[in-house]
């Protein structure tokens, strides 16, 4: 019975997936989608099943290596930026959404070239292709997972290589995206403690960070606030409410900087000396015909792009996922408030100061996944996403931007994904209208 309980616990761990997903090397407890449509008891048979020995011949190798390669082709309108020609307001990144012309799953944009105009660090990473169509090697990802035999300990490391044209030459940036140890101390409890550098606990979009998991190509306009990795400790706990076909989960983390992406706040050290707390409380309903997941998230603490411990940041979020007969609806609302602080340091560089800042935004994505058995073609997914972002630096013109994204994804065999996506970026208020739409594709080999 003990073995059956353990199996059930693991099965529930993997049920809360980023869906639709074709399988993944995701390391969080919520990993790979299983058939959650059926009640748990129907997934079990009368047999104990085969449980491989923890050690010795036949046991799984303690060290597992996996990864993916994400190759893309992208073309952005205009000069690949969101900067309006002739706009000499400074800093120029305060009057536009620099993250809008994204080209890949990392949220890298086509360009951040300001033409010499001063910026204050509100910048994403860039592939520096400007408005020229280009092939891109977006990510080469290596996952190393070590599971100790006989101990509920797992060590995970994710290393990525990011070849980029810098504007003045070529450079491949190695990135240690994650490195953590996880302990699951009790067989009977869905309780996991992780220490190291790990994914965000905020919202749901972080689950789509990796190109081989994300339904589409690019992240949302609000992802910059919620999907970053950081160093610290986190606890995940889930309790099943079996009579209600439901579960409650709590994910809590104390980290250097919270959930902002590293181009916004550096994750590898605390600049303020004060940990940032973040958490998500989730509810999930797993019925035969429909699965619904709701969550509320909070982040609070000193902003980690400066060194004053009294310059606070607060992020609130609500998320929703619904799976229904092949349709998948994901959505989030995020609210960001930051106080002004000292001189600014991001993952990209140092800048004069940190302004107070406010942002409100949401996205909603609808996808339909059609399972097929046509030779190598296993699944076709059509998806669309609409999103808005309102942002304001006090004293600067508030801006409102939106985006309509549409795309298709093909899953071939079990290891190749092909995606094509169109981003229609719009400046609804405040920001000057610019040509910054993007057509992008991604081919992801998973191994």
């Amino acid at each position: 019975m003990r073995g059956r309980q353990r199996l059930r616990a693991l099965g529930l761990f993997v049920a809360a997936a980023a869906w639709p997903a074709a399988g993944s090397a995701h390391t969080e407890p919520n990993i790979v989608q299983v058939d959650a449509a059926a009640p748990l008891e129907e997934n079990e048979n009368d047999s104990e099943g085969y449980t491989p020995p923890a050690q010795g011949p036949g046991s799984p190798a303690p060290l597992q290596l996996s990864g993916y390669v994400d190759v893309g082709f992208a073309r952005a309108q205009g000069d690949g930026t969101s900067f309006a020609p002739g706009d000499t307001r400074l800093p120029v990144d305060y009057g536009a959404d620099t993250f809008a012309p994204a080209v890949n799953s990392r949220g890298d944009v086509a360009s951040t070239d300001t033409g010499g105009r001063f910026v204050n660090g509100f910048l994403p990473r860039s592939v520096n292709i400007g408005g020229r169509p280009s092939f891109l090697l977006n990510t080469v990802n290596f996952d190393f997972k070590y599971t100790a035999g006989g101990a509920p300990v797992m060590v995970f490391t994710r290393v990525q290589l990011l070849p980029r044209f810098t504007g003045t030459g070529d450079e491949t940036r190695p990135l240690l995206e994650q490195a953590f140890g996880r302990i699951i101390p009790f067989d009977s409890q869905e309780l996991a403690l992780s220490i190291g550098k790990f994914d965000s606990v905020f919202g749901i979009e972080y689950l789509d960070n990796q190109a081989n998991i994300r339904t589409g190509v690019t992240p949302s306009l609000m992802a910059r606030y919620t999907t970053g990795q950081s160093i610290g400790a986190k606890i995940f706990y889930r309790v099943q409410l079996a009579p209600l076909w439901s579960a409650l989960s709590l994910n809590v983390a104390a980290t250097n900087h919270g959930n902002f992406v590293e181009s916004a706040q550096p994750p590898d050290a605390s600049l303020t000396g004060v940990p940032v707390l973040s958490a998500r409380l989730g509810y999930e309903l797993n019925l035969a015909a429909v699965q619904i997941k709701l969550g509320g998230s909070l982040l609070t603490g000193a902003r980690n792009d400066q060194n004053r411990d009294d310059a606070d940041q607060r992020v609130l979020g609500l998320d929703l996922r619904v799976a229904l007969y092949g349709f998948f609806l994901n959505g989030e609302y995020v609210r960001v408030d930051e106080e002004a602080g000292g001189p600014k340091t991001t993952g990209i560089g140092a800048f004069p100061l940190t302004s107070s800042f406010h942002a409100r935004g949401f996205y909603g994505q609808l996808a339909y996944a059609l399972a097929l058995d046509l030779g190598p073609l296993r699944r076709v997914t059509l998806y669309g996403r609409y999103e808005q972002r309102n942002a304001e630096f006090p004293g600067f013109t508030p801006i409102k931007v939106d985006r309509l994204t549409a795309g298709v994804r093909l899953d071939l065999w079990d290891l190749l994904i092909v995606k094509g996506e169109l981003l229609r970026n719009g400046e609804r208020a405040g920001a000057p209208k610019v040509d910054n739409d993007v057509l992008t594709t991604s081919l992801v080999y998973t191994w």
Binding site: D87, T88, F118, F393, G395, F396, T397
Partner: protein, 376 residues
């Protein structure tokens, strides 16, 4: 400007971030005239052989750089010689369109004018924001002159200039103070905003749109306990980077420098003395209240009166390197080594006595060499 008014109203009493730095007492910037009204305090500065006077509109602390921001001025066309044809003063389209508000950390009163020729027949309210202008791809924005204009959200609270010649005898007579145009109305993000117009020119900027600073020296002295304290005398205006021997840029009696100053503390040597004859009791009183040693002056200086005294107003408040000796007679007064210019400070005190601060000040000269600086 709104922050200075708020300080008088008690805002930020327990918030050091909202207070002016100790080197910049509020009274040096703004004077409360009662009834919710204020006047810009006219500040004296020594410029070597000349006297100058300025008003202060912004104080920057912790800013290494201040940037120029764009200002749009709508025009209906150009005359044959290329001069922009502006709309009549009573036409709302004559109002300048500012682009960054005073609440922004990157707000700047230093503007680069861009003339924008609007199509004939365009609606009067078609272009009242930067976005409206940038979105109309048919418009061309041609660069124009620099303009200094300080935005004020609270309308009608600034009502003039306070010229305290009793406290600072070197200040010019009112007729020699240039006009400061109060109560101007422009647009910011489509909404009206008031501004103080301090005229065209007066500053330069580099390719990165960073406004050039000029050093402003604040004389200090060290008391018996070794504490550095203000000397309560006029500031000393520089002309360029330290030890660069930059000549002042002046044309048509308008200095084309000296609107953004970087404050430097200058420690005066123990023997230096302020010229404060008893005929100016407010000066003497201020020095005594500050604990500054007041040099004794000789009988012939004490006897100065009438026009002879007026002729010496420019010396009052200056610091003499050898004051104890050269204040003996009127004749020796002319032999004083005055520490009243950047070159004099650099020559006689050296770099060790000069300390850069993190304070920059927008205080454009509105009187120069006892002559009003024009404000076209």
């Amino acid at each position: 400007m709104d922050d200075f008014v708020a300080l008088y109203e008690g805002a930020g009493e327990n918030d050091p971030d909202r207070q002016l730095p100790p080197l910049m007492p509020l009274g040096m910037v703004l004077t409360d005239t009662g009834g919710g009204k204020y006047q810009l305090a006219l500040g004296p500065t020594m410029l070597g052989d000349y006297e100058g006077a300025y008003v202060t509109t912004e104080v920057w602390q912790g800013f290494d750089e201040v940037w120029v921001q764009p200002l749009y001025v709508l025009i209906s066309g150009r005359s044959p010689d290329g001069t922009p044809i502006r709309f009549p003063a009573d036409d709302p389209r004559a109002r300048p369109i500012f682009t960054v508000g005073p609440d922004s950390a990157f707000y700047s009163p230093y503007w680069q004018t861009f003339y924008v020729q609007v199509p004939a027949g365009s609606a009067p309210d078609a272009y009242r924001s930067a976005r409206a202008i940038l979105d109309d791809k048919a418009l061309v924005a041609a660069p124009g002159p620099a303009r200094l204009a300080s935005l004020v959200r609270r309308k009608g609270v600034i009502e003039g200039i306070f010229n305290d010649r009793d406290r600072y005898p070197s200040l010019p007579a009112p007729e020699n103070v240039g006009p400061v145009k109060l109560g101007g109305v422009g647009y910011l993000d489509g909404e009206e905003i008031e501004y103080i117009d301090l005229g065209e020119g007066g500053f330069q900027w580099d390719r990165a749109l960073v406004v050039e600073e000029t050093p402003l020296f604040l004389p200090m002295w060290r008391d018996a306990e070794g504490t550095l304290r203000s000397l309560e005398v006029p500031t000393i205006g520089g002309t360029g980077p330290l030890f660069s021997e930059t000549l002042p840029r002046i044309s048509l009696n308008r200095p084309h420098y000296g609107s953004l100053w970087r404050a430097y503390v200058v420690e005066m040597p123990p023997a230096a003395r302020v010229f404060a004859p008893p005929q100016h009791p407010k000066v003497v009183e201020a020095l005594q209240e500050a604990g500054v040693p007041v040099a004794e002056v000789g009988p012939t200086i004490k006897a100065l009166a009438g026009q002879d005294l007026v002729d010496r107003r420019a010396n009052v408040g200056r610091v003499a390197l050898d004051g104890a000796k050269c204040f003996e007679t009127v004749a020796t007064l002319d032999t004083c080594t005055w520490l009243d210019s950047q070159s004099a400070i650099e020559k006689h005190l050296g770099g060790a006595a000069i300390h850069k601060t993190d304070i920059a000040i927008t205080c454009p000269l509105i009187s120069f060499a006892n002559t009003a600086v024009p404000n076209p």
